[in-house]
Symmetry: C7
Subunit: 96 residues, 7 copies
Amino acid sequence: MKLKPLADRVVVKPLEEEEKTPGGIILPDTAKEKSQRGQVMAVGPGRLDERGERVPLEVRVDDLVLYGKYAGTEIKIDGQEYLILRESDILAVIEK
Amino acid sequence: MKLKPLADRVVVKPLEEEEKTPGGIILPDTAKEKSQRGQVMAVGPGRLDERGERVPLEVRVDDLVLYGKYAGTEIKIDGQEYLILRESDILAVIEK
Amino acid sequence: MKLKPLADRVVVKPLEEEEKTPGGIILPDTAKEKSQRGQVMAVGPGRLDERGERVPLEVRVDDLVLYGKYAGTEIKIDGQEYLILRESDILAVIEK
Amino acid sequence: MKLKPLADRVVVKPLEEEEKTPGGIILPDTAKEKSQRGQVMAVGPGRLDERGERVPLEVRVDDLVLYGKYAGTEIKIDGQEYLILRESDILAVIEK
Amino acid sequence: MKLKPLADRVVVKPLEEEEKTPGGIILPDTAKEKSQRGQVMAVGPGRLDERGERVPLEVRVDDLVLYGKYAGTEIKIDGQEYLILRESDILAVIEK
Amino acid sequence: MKLKPLADRVVVKPLEEEEKTPGGIILPDTAKEKSQRGQVMAVGPGRLDERGERVPLEVRVDDLVLYGKYAGTEIKIDGQEYLILRESDILAVIEK
Amino acid sequence: MKLKPLADRVVVKPLEEEEKTPGGIILPDTAKEKSQRGQVMAVGPGRLDERGERVPLEVRVDDLVLYGKYAGTEIKIDGQEYLILRESDILAVIEK
């Protein structure tokens, strides 16, 4: 199954946060912090501006991005969690 | 009975969520998650932009779409539940 | 008495919801669901757009329309309940 | 004393609601419903639009109008209650 | 001390409300209603519109004006209470 | 240390309110009212309008200004309290 | 790892607040005030204005800036706390 986001939306696959503390203790799921990092899986065509033209997105497929803890809508597809965000909810691109 | 949505509204028929857990247990209605997937049954003519022109919708009849859990207004017609959403409440189109 | 709605407002006469359950039991008033369907009795001249021109309404007198449960303002005239809505509160027209 | 409302404001004198029930019982003041009908006593010159021009009002002095239960600001002048509303709070004109 | 209000602001000196009931009883301070009437002491140069031009105010110094009970900011200068309001918080001018 | 406010912001040094009651009693700190008067220490270059041009500020360095009790952000620099406000939070200039 | 903020966002490294009271007492972490000062580490390309052009930022990398106590989103990277703010959340630049 493939997703085609609408307007200025972006589909992101959240990255698992570190499962060990700096001291090497393995954390249970409930103690892990909510991920704020993810990989862009798909981008929309951009929103329409006032002149009726599409505004292309700054982020690209495969970009690693940072976002707020409560941004976007969680969607579960085939057992995998995804996040659908507006581009304006993305704070920064992490350069590799 | 047929519905003609106004402006940028879309009539969606929610898809039943899986009734079995991965282990094969049949779920009762109250344990099923609220659907976030549905099929587009009808689309409006589009909202008017600032120049007084209609902005045609990106989604089409028969598209399979994803939306937030609390998006739109539920309407019951002839015993069938429908959802009427603004197009901006639709997150993505699911490609078949 | 006749009402002339202002701007983009619409006067709607709510339709009585079914008074019987599918099994044929007659429902008391307090168990009936709030109507979300009504007949358009009067429409306003349309709101003024940014260029100072009237935007005519999509709905017409006699249209059967769908609206949200808590939309509009209830008005009682000569013992009959009416609803005054903005056109943007109307979700769809029901085709007969 | 005379009031000159500013911009798109309207001074309305609320009409007393019926003091008898359909069965002829005279209602005490506390059981009367809040009036939603009134007579226009004065209208403002209209708000300024984006081009700096006045938008004249649709309602006229002496019009009988309908408004929401909690619309506007109540003002007491010489012992008489008035309501000052924006024209956009007026739902409809009642034709006589 | 003199005040020069900014943009579309107005300095108003609230009028003392009647200190006697219609029956002639003198009211203590705590039983007096909050004033909604005042005299304009100073007006600002007007806000800037979208074209960068000042929109001159409708009210003038010495006008007697009506305003909502909770409008504006109270300021005490040399022991005297004043109210600084935006012109849009002024409901009407009282003609003398 | 010197502050350069951004856009339409203004740095204000609040004036100490009178420490004596009219009867000559010296007030402890906790009984003093929050200051609503201050001296402008620095002004920003102005916000950008829709045409991309700076809108210069009305207030100037050294102006004595009035503002609401809860306006702006308090900042402590080298032990001295300052307030950073948007110009739109300033109610009036006090003429000396 | 390097961050490329989107639109009008800015990455800031908060400065540690003084760890001693004026009297020389070393403060524990929980008694320290939340920092409102930080150093700009990266700036975005600017937001798009209505004409579709980028509005370049006023702040530059290495600027020392002041911001409100609850502004922005905290992000932890490689054990170091950063703050991602919109430029409009920055109150002033501190001149060195």
